[in-house]
Amino acid sequence: MNPPHNPGEPESPLVFRLQIALLSSFVLFASGVIIWVGRLLYVSWKLNDTFSASVFIALIAVPVFSLLIGVYNYVFWGIMRGGK
C-alpha cells in the first residue's frame, strides 16, 4: 500500500541516530531545567533567601519536568517498539 516506505524494514541508522539525538536533547533540556531549579534551591539555602518559596516552586516544577521526560520517553520508546 505504501510503496515509498517498507514497513517491515528498520529505517537507516542515520534516522535512528537523529531520533536518539532528538530524545536526548529533550531529556537534556528537561533535566537541565531540573538541575537549574535545584541550583536555585541551593543558592536560596546558602543565602538564606526565602528557601521556603524555592522549595514550594521546586516541588511543582521538578515533578512536572520529570513527568515530561517520562511521557516523552514513553511515547518515543512505545511507538518505536510498537511498530514491530
Partner: protein, 448 residues
C-alpha cells in the same frame, strides 16, 4: 494511489506542503521585512539604550510588557482550549486542535521575547539562571512559561506523529524525508502505537491544563505582588486567566478564518465551528465583564485615595480612551454580535474577535500603564507615556513573527490533523453513539 489521494478532502490538507501557493513567497517577504524592521529597531534600542523608547520614570513599563501579557494571554487559546475539548471528547474539536496548539507554541515564544525586549541589559539574561531567586515573580514566570512551552510543544508533537508518518510516506527521498522519518518515530498505526499515542495525549492534556492556568496566574502575580494601587489585588490571577482565555479564543477564531480562506479549508472549518466557538466567546465575554466589574467596583467602593487616583485616571482621566475603548471592544460589540444568532456567522465572529483582540490589548495596557503613571508617591507629577517608533516597530515585528511562524509551519506540517479528522470520519458515529448510550436514561436499551 495512496489513501490520501483517494480522499479528495484530505488532499487539501497537505497540498500546501508539497506545492507552494503563489502568494506564499510574497507573504513571507512582507512579513520577513516587518520582522527585519523590528530587529533593526531592537538593535537601535540595544545600542542606544531603552531611552529610545517612550518609557520613563515612573512609567517604566509600556508596550513591551503589555505585549508580553497580551501574547501570553493569546497562548491560552491553543493548548488549553484544545486540552479541554479533547478531554471533554467534543467531536467538533478535531479540525481545530492543531491550529490552536500552533498558536500557543508560536505566541509563547514571542511573549517571552517581549520580556527580553524590555530588559535594560539583555546581555545579562543568563543572570536569571546564575543568580535567579524564587522570591521574584519574574522567576515564577520564567519557570512557568518554560514549562508551558515545553509541555505545549510536546503536546503539539505527540498527536502530530501519525500525520508526520503520512508525510514521510508521501515524501520523495531526500533530506526532507529524513526529517519526517526522524519525527515519525517509526509510526505505522499499529494498535499498540495507537494505544501509546492516546494514553500520552491524554496525560499531556490533563497536565497541560493546570500549567496553562498557572502561567497566566503568575503573569498576573508580577503585578499583583507589588503594593501598587489597582495592581495589588487578589482577583488578578483569575482575572488574567479569564482574559487570557477570552483573547485566546478570539485569536483562534481569527486565525481559523484566515487559514480557512488561505488554505481552502472550508470543508474542515465550517460555520458550525465558528458558531460554537462564538458561543464560547460569548461566555468568556460575560466572564471577563464580570471580573472587570468586580475589580473596578471593589476599588471604587473602597475609595482608597491611591487607588482612586488610578481609577479616575482610567475612568475620565488621561487613559479614559483606553478604558472606554476596552469596554466597548470587549463588552458592547461582542455581546451584540455574539448573542444574536443571526450575527454569529463567520464574518460576525471574526468582527467580534477582532474588537476583542483590540480590547484585550487595551485592557493589558490599561492595567500596566495608568498604575505606573499614578504611583503612591503622588507628590510627584503624574507620569505620561507615548511609545516611539521603536516600540511600534517591535510590536509590528512581533505580530509579523507570529504570522511568519504560521507560514513556515504550514510548509512542513498539516494545519488540520489528518489523523484525527480521519479517525472522526471513521469512528465518530460509533464514539458518539456509544457515549450517548452510556448516559441515556434507561441504559438497558443497548443491551436489549
Amino acid at each position: 494511489m495512496t489513501e490520501i489521494q483517494k480522499n479528495e478532502h484530505d488532499a487539501v490538507l497537505i497540498r500546501s506542503i508539497f506545492q507552494t501557493p503563489s502568494w506564499y513567497w510574497p507573504a513571507v517577504a512582507v512579513l520577513g521585512s516587518l520582522v527585519v524592521l523590528g530587529f533593526g529597531a531592537y538593535l537601535f534600542q540595544f545600542f542606544l539604550g531603552l531611552g529610545e523608547t517612550g518609557l520613563n520614570q515612573p512609567v517604566t513599563w509600556g508596550f513591551y510588557i503589555t505585549n508580553f501579557v497580551f501574547f501570553i494571554g493569546i497562548s491560552h487559546a491553543g493548548t488549553l482550549i484544545s486540552a479541554i475539548l479533547r478531554l471533554s471528547q467534543t467531536e467538533w474539536r478535531r479540525p481545530i486542535t492543531r491550529i490552536a496548539e500552533v498558536i500557543t507554541v508560536a505566541v509563547l515564544g514571542i511573549g517571552g521575547m517581549n520580556i527580553l525586549l524590555d530588559l535594560g541589559r539583555p546581555d545579562r539574561m543568563l543572570n536569571m539562571i546564575y543568580y535567579g531567586r524564587y522570591q521574584s515573580p519574574l522567576l515564577w514566570d520564567m519557570t512557568s512559561i518554560t514549562t508551558y512551552l515545553t509541555a505545549s510543544s510536546v503536546y503539539l508533537f505527540i498527536p502530530m506523529i501519525p500525520d508526520i508518518a503520512i508525510l514521510r510516506d508521501l515524501c520523495p527521498p531526500g533530506p526532507r524525508k529524513v526529517f519526517y522519518q526522524v519525527l515519525a518515530l517509526g509510526w505505522q498505526g499499529t494498535p499498540r502505537q495507537e494505544k501509546v499515542l492516546n494514553r500520552a495525549t491524554a496525560i499531556m492534556a490533563i497536565m497541560v491544563i493546570p500549567i496553562a492556568v498557572s502561567v497566566h496566574t503568575v503573569v498576573a502575580f508580577v503585578f499583583s505582588m507589588t503594593l501598587q494601587p489597582m495592581w495589588h489585588s487578589s482577583i488578578f490571577g483569575p482575572y488574567f486567566v479569564a482574559g487570557a482565555l477570552f483573547s485566546g479564543v478570539a485569536m483562534l477564531l481569527i486565525v481559523m478564518a484566515i487559514l480557512r480562506k488561505v488554505f481552502h479549508l472550508e470543508d474542515y472549518l465550517q460555520p458550525i465551528h465558528f458558531n460554537y466557538l462564538g458561543l464560547l466567546l460569548l461566555v468568556f465575554t460575560l466572564f471577563w465583564t464580570y471580573f472587570t466589574f468586580a475589580e473596578y467596583l471593589t476599588a471604587f467602593y473602597g475609595n482608597e485615595p491611591d487607588e482612586m487616583r488610578v481609577f479616575w485616571a482610567k475612568w475620565d482621566g488621561p487613559w479614559a480612551w483606553g478604558f472606554w475603548g476596552m469596554v466597548i471592544c470587549n463588552f458592547f460589540i461582542p455581546v451584540i454580535i455574539l448573542s444574536i444568532n443571526r450575527f454569529r456567522t463567520i464574518t460576525g465572529t471574526v468582527i467580534a474577535s477582532s474588537t476583542i483582540l483590540i480590547g484585550m490589548w487595551l485592557e493589558r495596557f490599561i492595567i500596566v500603564v495608568p498604575t505606573l503613571a499614578n504611583p503612591r508617591q503622588h507628590r510627584l507629577p503624574t507620569g505620561s507615556y507615548w511609545p516611539t517608533w521603536v516600540e511600534f516597530s517591535l510590536m509590528t515585528g512581533s505580530f509579523a513573527l507570529f504570522a511568519l511562524f504560521y507560514l513556515v509551519f504550514s510548509r512542513f506540517f498539516p494545519l488540520v490533523s489528518i489523523h484525527e479528522v480521519r479517525e472522526g470520519r471513521e469512528h465518530s458515529d460509533d464514539i458518539a453513539l456509544e457515549r450517548i448510550h452510556r448516559y441515556r436514561i434507561g441504559n438497558g436499551y443497548i443491551k436489549e
